[in-house]
């Protein structure tokens, strides 16, 4: 997601896992370990959640980063050596991990926050942490005409130049169908049919030579600023970070796809009670507002919205204005068809 620079090589991973498993086992029997994607979001969490929570409970909270690889959690659960207690996961990983028994099933009565947060944030094994979005972004200083939608993204005559898209089937196929005139609410129904998939790839064929594929979330704003691409799909938080640095990047919210990241408790964690307390603490209006003012990812607790400034709330994916014409990602669809479609995407892109 926001932080997908894959910086692991296998040698260091092997070394680290051998060393790490020994060290973690020795050192974390007492600590309460919270693992997130880190980066700008991790910093915002530190200020909004970790420090105040630790002060309140003296839990000995130890934060850590990962890249969202379920494999590491799976290895822990399978060997019974669980050193992570609470993790931030993306929605497809949550669904997969929940089904495969890597996360604890939650007792929502005990949590007692079900009616305070949005419906999308309530899952069998996870509680929504925040809402993020994949949007169409462009450099407002460089474009004379403002792109409004994915149709404009596909229009290479009026908007000449390269475009950035994430290397992979997820999001790419949805955007192609939006550009082909499929309504946002129908997009996953169309993609469930083989004809719909063909249609999406045919649409991609139209502009394949104009696309520069990105891999890490940091790339789109950097390319936009450097003038490598005229517009790009991007994570909204990344664009906001570039705006903070004084870049005049802008977002077309129509046809954006939003999704949630979730808190999930690793199966076999010895700190379940603390994890419940932490989730409850991190879902309150004041802590959520503190987090969202640190990074423009939307709060799952709507009561947090009024305490944000107008400028901050205009950047939130959960702002009703931005929600118009946006689509929630269909997790179930990508869990079921993800592998097949990614392989087809790889096959397609190999022939470019």
């Amino acid at each position: 997601m926001k932080n997908t620079t894959k910086t692991i090589n296998f040698k260091s991973m092997l070394g680290a896992s051998i060393l790490g498993s020994g060290l973690l086992f020795a050192s974390t029997s007492q600590a309460f370990t919270v693992i997130t994607f880190g980066g700008a979001s991790g910093e915002a969490m530190q200020n909004a959640y970790y420090t105040p929570f630790d002060k309140k409970t003296k839990a000995g909270l130890v934060p850590g980063d990962y890249n969202g690889e379920l494999s590491r959690i799976r290895a822990m659960v399978e060997t019974g050596n669980v050193s992570w207690d609470l993790v931030e996961v993306e929605s497809p990983e949550l669904a997969r991990g929940c089904f495969e028994g890597m996360f604890e099933r939650l007792d929502w009565k005990k949590l007692g926050i079900k009616d305070q947060i949005i419906d999308d944030a309530v899952e069998e094994c996870g509680v929504g942490a925040f809402v993020w979005s994949t949007v169409l972004a462009y450099d407002a200083d460089k474009l004379k005409k403002v792109p409004q939608s994915w149709q404009d993204f596909w229009n290479v005559k009026e908007f000449p130049g390269k475009r950035g898209l994430r290397r992979g089937a997820k999001f790419t196929l949805e955007f192609a169908l939006f550009a082909d005139g499929v309504a946002v609410e129908d997009v996953y129904d169309v993609l469930r049919t083989p004809e719909g998939v063909d249609r999406a790839f045919a649409k991609l064929d139209e502009i394949s030579e104009h696309i520069q594929w990105w891999e890490a979330g940091a790339q789109p704003p950097q390319w936009l600023v450097a003038g490598d691409v005229v517009m790009s799909s991007s994570y909204n938080g990344r664009i906001a970070a570039a705006q903070e640095e004084g870049r005049n990047l802008a977002i077309a919210w129509k046809g954006s796809i939003y999704d949630l990241d979730y808190w999930a408790i690793v199966k076999g964690s010895k700190k379940r009670e603390l994890a419940y307390d932490f989730i409850r603490f991190a879902s309150q209006p004041d802590t959520q507002a503190a987090y969202s003012s640190g990074i423009p990812y939307g709060p799952v607790n709507p009561a947090a919205l009024p305490s944000l400034s107008a400028k901050q709330s205009a950047r939130m994916p959960t702002n009703p204005k931005n929600m118009k014409g946006a689509r929630a990602m269909d997790t179930g669809f990508w869990v079921d068809y993800g592998e097949e479609l990614e392989q087809r995407f790889n096959a397609w892109s190999s022939r470019l």
């Binding site: 894959k6 910086t7 890249n67 494999s71 450097a226 490598d228 869990v335 790889n346 096959a347 190999s350």
Partner: protein
């Protein structure tokens, strides 16, 4: 005096035990030697042999169903697959499905069955919701058949049968763009899904090109290093080694900065008026080759340099003094002596390049991704370790085969020379 007198007697008595003493000393030495090697052997066993054998096993491992639903698996293996299985299979499956949910094995079963058909996971969840908690065998069978239309389709059961045997070749076949059809014959997968054969081909082509370019660039440089006086060559050697001290990621990222459309090279060329539009130098094969050659070049230069350092210049001089053309002397007398260095350098660079992951990911386009990219994708993103292991095993086999061929070639060359 007395000692000299007793010596022969003592020797005579001790003679047989001297042999055994020698034996003991020898044995002790052997044990000591073994003990010295033991840490290394254990280390290799733990971090090399065990993981690789586990990877090889994972690529054919199909034990999900036979462990979590043993009776169903056994029944389905006996089923001929021609028409719908009998009531006993239905009832056993329904029962074991519920047991697997209680004991936490459902995840493994669902993950495995989903590879056969993308909608299986959902089907299992739906079915479990509609099954009665307790029932007789006949009721179970009926409840299962009624819970979803899919259970009355023979294809569903054929898919489960594929997962019933303890080993499978599906991952290895899929890594070669092959699959088994419902009759069990091997066939190519649909054209739109074919990707891995070209990925393997591409991996070998990229690794081969990188090796060749490294050799072409590294050979003259190593020659220069070896023929310069030590003070100058040491300085140059530091420049060769300098990239070693910089993180791989930093080196890769700096190539992006240099090569991108708004980057240093393109803007300079445009300011000089040499080009009108920026050249596409990165996010394609060119960028991958440049960045990989930069990173791997020292691995070519160092073995070459160490071999060239040991070659006496007198042979070449002798050849020239006997009337040989300098170039011919170089080619006929000097170059063959460097074969072992070329071989070592090329092998090192080629094998390291085969496993490259970060560099092609960051500076390559979608058609420049190598096998390790897909291994990482299956390991981390989709959690399909069977596929990851199969791709890894095939890469290992390809590497070993290429190594054997190469070994032959190099040995032959050396034989000819001798």
């Amino acid at each position: 005096m007395s000692t000299t007198a007793t010596q022969p007697i003592a020797e005579g008595i001790d003679n047989p035990s001297l042999k055994s003493q020698l034996h003991r000393a020898e044995r002790l030495r052997k044990i000591k030697a073994a003990a010295l090697v033991m840490p290394l052997a254990i280390f290799l066993l733990i971090v090399f042999v065990a993981p690789i054998s586990q990877m090889l096993w994972r690529s054919v491992d199909n034990t999900e169903l036979s462990q979590e639903m043993p009776q169903t698996a056994a029944l389905l293996l006996r089923w001929d697959g021609q028409q719908l299985p009998n009531q006993e299979v239905y009832a056993t499956f329904a029962q074991e499905l519920q047991i697997s949910r209680q004991e936490g094995g459902l995840g493994r079963v669902g993950r495995r069955l989903n590879y056969e058909k993308p909608t299986f996971r959902g089907l299992l969840v739906r079915t479990l919701r509609r099954l009665p908690a307790q029932a007789s065998a006949a009721d179970y069978a009926e409840a299962l058949a009624n819970s979803d239309r899919a259970w009355s389709e023979i294809a569903t059961w054929q898919a489960i049968k594929k997962a019933a045997a303890p080993t499978t070749d599906r991952y290895l076949l899929a890594s070669l763009d092959l699959e088994r059809n419902s009759q069990g014959e091997i066939q190519s997968i649909t054209e739109t899904q074919r990707v891995y054969l070209s990925v393997f081909q591409r991996t070998i082509v990229i690794a081969g090109s990188v090796t060749l370019i490294c050799l072409l660039l590294g050979f003259p440089l190593a020659y220069l290093l070896a023929s310069l006086p030590a003070s100058k060559s040491n300085l140059l050697l530091i420049f060769v080694l300098l990239p070693f001290w910089t993180s791989l990621l930093v080196r890769t990222a700096s190539w992006i900065v240099l090569l991108q459309s708004g980057g240093l090279i393109n803007t300079s060329l445009m300011n000089l008026g040499i080009i009108e539009d920026p050249l596409q130098l990165v996010f394609n094969r060119f960028g991958v080759l440049v960045a990989m050659v930069h990173i791997l070049l020292p691995f070519m230069i160092l073995p070459l340099y160490s071999v060239m350092k040991g070659i006496s210049p007198t042979y070449q001089r002798a050849a020239i003094s006997l009337g040989c053309h300098p170039f011919v002397a170089f080619w006929k007398v000097y170059a063959p002596q460097t074969v072992s260095g070329v071989a070592a350098g090329a092998l090192l660079v080629f094998i390291m390049a085969l496993g490259y992951y970060i560099t092609p990911t960051l500076v390559g386009g979608p058609s420049d991704q190598m096998v390790s990219y897909y291994v990482a994708y299956y390991t981390n993103t989709t959690n399909n370790w069977g596929m990851a292991a199969a791709l890894g095993s095939l890469l290992l086999i390809v590497t070993l085969l290429l190594y054997l061929v190469y070994h032959r070639l190099v040995n032959q060359k050396q034989l000819v020379r001798n």
